[in-house]
Symmetry: C2
Subunit: 615 residues, 2 copies
């Protein structure tokens, strides 16, 4: 008895800082909260209107049209259904005269609206279901509160449903404290179920859809899980610099950061070197060929080093051609417009060229080499216009670096991490997963559950090539031989068709990985692995980085990398070096995996597409 009494006396908790009760607590509280007077706020997802009493005299035509209107109609639709309703009244009042259109409207305006109840489905973003909210027409005209997207803040009493609805409880409004109306003509969400990709034109309204709200809650939950996992395992969080001059992966795909362009660029005509008699035509032919080579390398995607070299080569040739052309024009006196510009970076904000970071792992090593286990979590950038659904210019990455560890340790850490966060999402986001299963992909819960229990398939790069070469029933776009990069197509065949679970591919040929990855004893492969996921693709890139000073300098020399830029990085090997490994995990692709979406742009707040910046 006592405990029952206590339960019914439990008050719905107020949200601090906004003096309203969060709908999640109301909907979870259920009938236990009946009788309480509370304040709630939210946005109308859908609505309908219920007439309170039959109108005298009830014409047959009217009965079918207006009362207990179809569920989930918009305000416009309600008005439309009302026109014949008023027409019927006119018939009754004025006999069979057919009033002109203008006349009818003026009469409609003058008529007091019939008493009714607006039944609103209201969401405040705290959970998937909406609360049913009843607003009597004596409190507010239905037209004011019923449009989809309307914001309301109301006080009311919780009661058992009087109007048919999905939930165990509803709110009868007693006082309206705020209404934020909607201009219906141009509110994009008035239409039901706008496809997600169309919504990209309205990024500021995306969170108001149940799908994006669910994605946001899962994303939030994955963030919490990430910090919790690393806290539990003794990792320290360190944020890495975004503006940087060093980078582990070359500068080919970099965004430059500058304050020069706002001002007037001080320029100089580039000194025009003698090209030794090579004709412009010869150079242009060479450019053509080199461009093709670059395109091929871009398509295969993985061989970054070769791509960087090819791009540098192409750029130099392009410069040469442009110089020749400019000189030609200059000589013929046609124009100065296409002359070359040399930018004075010494006048830039940092007095030199600076870029947006594409990876924080090299910097993170400084911290691992003093504090042991560290991780970072922040935005990383790549100025690649690839036609991939798995890559946009700005993505959040989790980066991990573990001192006193080898490749196997990083594998175990990645494995544990993914198990932990999958379990976390299954436990904390069941409602959102249920909704997305219904709406987007029915397999997401199964996939997450599989992740929590089974270990990943581990194969070497050589084994992966062997397995793929055995494939007879499928023709891959790109040829594959030992030493060649695996394409997205190869990888997805491995995980989706052959193993049907996440696959760790390890020990790549050194040519396919950056200079800092640790050389294996065979002198040919390096200690690196990727984790490829079904649907989400390459989620993790990992490596044990080279701790041996001499081996590292040899690699830098082999690849003709400007050593002076990496002196600080070499310093870490000169003084107190240690074995260490780590990985970069694409957080956005993790959200893709957990939500069942296919395109990474759908899971990012303010989608940043390839060619178009966000607001």
């Amino acid at each position: 008895m006592a405990s029952q009494q206590a339960a019914t006396e439990t008050l719905a908790p107020l949200s601090k800082y906004s003096k309203r009760v969060i709908l999640k607590t109301v909907l979870e509280g259920g009938t236990g909260l009946v009788g309480q007077t509370i304040v709630i706020g939210g946005w109308v997802k859908s609505s309908n209107e219920v007439r309170k009493e039959p109108l005298p005299p009830p014409a047959v035509a009217v009965a079918g049209d207006a009362p207990v209107a179809a569920k989930d109609v918009t305000c416009v639709e309600i008005l439309q259904t009302r026109i014949p309703f008023f027409r019927s009244i006119m018939k009754v009042l004025g006999g069979n005269q057919n009033p002109g259109r203008g006349k009818l409207e003026s009469i409609v305006q003058q008529l007091p609206p019939p008493p009714s109840v607006a039944v609103l489905q209201v969401s405040d973003g705290s959970c998937v279901p909406s609360l049913q909210v009843l607003v009597d027409s004596s409190i507010a005209p239905p037209i004011q509160v019923m449009a989809t997207g309307t914001c309301i803040l109301v006080e009311g009493i919780l009661q058992q449903p009087t109007v048919r609805g999905k939930h165990a409880i509803e709110l009868k409004v007693e006082k309206i404290m705020h209404v934020g109306t909607v201009v219906q003509d141009n509110y994009p969400l008035s239409k039901k179920r706008l496809p997600l990709d169309m919504l990209r034109d309205f990024p500021h309204f995306r969170p108001r859809t149940t799908t994006v709200a669910s994605i946001t809650r899962i994303r939030h939950s994955l963030t919490q899980a990430t910090h919790t996992f690393f806290l539990n395992n003794g990792f320290l969080y360190v944020d890495m610099p975004i503006i940087t001059t060093t980078d582990g992966e070359g500068f080919s795909d970099k965004f430059q950061v500058t304050t020069l362009l706002g001002k007037d660029i001080k320029k100089e005509a580039i000194a025009m070197d003698d090209t030794g008699g090579v004709s412009l035509e010869t150079i242009k032919a060479s450019i053509n060929e080199k461009s093709k080579q670059v395109e091929e390398l871009k398509r295969t995607e993985s061989n970054r080093e070769a791509l960087v070299a090819a791009l540098q080569d192409l750029r130099k040739t392009n410069e040469l051609a442009a110089q020749l052309e400019a000189r030609k024009k200059s000589k013929s006196g046609t124009s100065v417009k296409s002359q070359m510009v040399k930018v004075e970076f010494s006048e830039d904000f940092f007095s030199r060229r600076t870029f947006l970071t594409s990876s924080g792992r090299l910097h993170l090593e400084s911290y691992a080499r003093a504090l042991g286990n560290v991780y970072s979590f922040g935005p990383r950038f790549r100025a690649q216009k690839l036609e991939s659904k798995k890559q946009v210019a700005e993505m959040w990455m989790i980066e991990v670096e573990i001192a006193f560890s080898q490749l196997e340790d990083a594998m175990n850490c990645a494995d544990d991490f993914l198990k932990f966060v999958s379990k976390w999402v299954l436990e904390n986001c069941s409602e959102d997963l249920k909704f997305l299963s219904k709406r987007v992909d029915p397999t997401i819960v199964d996939r997450l559950q599989l992740l929590t229990s089974s270990s990943f398939q581990r194969i070497s790069y050589a084994e992966a090539v062997e397995v793929l070469k055995q494939v007879k029933d499928k023709k891959f776009e790109a040829k594959l031989e030992l030493g060649m990069p695996l394409t997205e197509e190869h990888e997805s065949y491995l995980v989706d068709e052959i193993y049907q679970k996440p696959v760790i591919i390890h020990n790549y040929p050194k040519e396919l990985r950056p200079f800092y990855v640790r050389l294996n004893d065979d002198g040919k492969t390096v200690a690196a692995f990727d984790v490829v996921f079904p649907k989400a693709g390459k989620l993790i890139r990992a490596s044990q980085n080279e701790e041996r000073f001499n081996v590292l300098t040899t690699r830098i020399k082999e690849l003709d990398i400007p050593k002076e830029q990496y002196e600080w990085y070499l310093d870490l090997r000169r003084h107190g070096t240690v074995m260490h490994s780590g990985f970069s995990l694409s957080f956005d692709l993790l959200v893709v995996y957990a939500t069942g979406l296919i395109d990474v742009r759908e899971v990012i707040p303010f989608p940043r597409s390839h060619g178009k910046a966000t607001n």
Copy 2:
């Protein structure tokens, strides 16, 4: 009895992923762990050498020099102390002959080192204290392991201290698994207590100092506390875009993001308008005057809107002057070099000008207006070359937006947040706080404790001006009248001298705040507040943002802001608007406050100073 036995049997837990025992657990476990064989890894902070047995025959000169060497000497010092030691041996062996320098050295090299024990203080970054580690010379030559900065991974047995030390337990090494040596000549940390600002030239070694390690651990702890606070209070985490085209605070201090500069800039000579006979000299005089005005505005710092307007004006005038000059030169045929360049942003990566965000709050509103309570935590950018110790180009900010709330609610949230994180740090970082109290600022613990218990002083802007005008014993650099911005000097006088605790200053004149801050009923002030902290300065900028469509458009018109850029922001008022408030908190300044450092560059990983980019 049973529990005692259980305690002694508790094994020191292995760190997953690096197969070693974290030193924190060893040092906290204390004598309970004696007798266990464990693996530990870390870096030598200091060392000394202890001779194992008295050498026959013990000359008086030797006894004072070598054994139980002074604590905390570097390896160089040990070698130096050894020269007389060997000289003594020579005396004994070879009588009184004084060997030449070269001869002595060759003999020293040939002599087997006398048996000794290297006593190392080793840290792995998990806590402030070091573990005392004993390496017998039979296991490794002392010179190999004793240099400050050497990395070791060793297996050994935990025992009660045989050599005088600070701690209850020490490790006797039985097997060396890895040594990462140090090139002593150029290892900057070989010198003890290098000042922090000198360390800025070696950002990659900073984490190896106890001070920076402590800062990092406190920073980590504040991050965890931040996510925990918002989780506990029902806030959703959303990361905001870094590359953006919109911004709430004008583009004057923005970094531009581009891929144009790597390529050849396509340019056009700007069309040269007729200036209607105004002479170049007149324009140059005007530029002079306008520059002075801008400098003045920059100095006072707070009046951002006026500064933006003045900068725009100055830029236009500068452009005009440059055009005139270019035309002059062009006419006289001297040079095309100083001609103006117009950059074609349509050819940039996003096909338009894009910037690094200086605040995510406007974007965050989209999420608050759908999901209620939201927060963001990420890097924000400002290309200001101010000589302030409280501002660098790249800083991490916590941004909060609360739907259905007013200014008072944001104040309460900020107050609770600061109380919560202060308490968290006091509870979780006591050792680091103790160390920093000793080394940096003895008042930090008191200040944090004050924060957890007392409420902030709340005064209006008008009251603040009134109070400061009453001050007689201090002459401020900048004049202060109602309507003028408070400078850093004014603010620090209020918190450090007058109130001696954090102060909330609210209700600023509308001219001193951006267009989107909500206009108060008086039509003159706006609903904004700042929180100013002792030492750390302005930690929080907060506001209730304008939810009324008409008021907002009027403000945009008044300030002549390009409305088309903010159509998406106005959309949020057109459709389902709601009262809401929020704040931006400078996370880096919070770390300044908690660590007692004065310069924000000291608390940032890879310090990003005004004029110099990091690695």
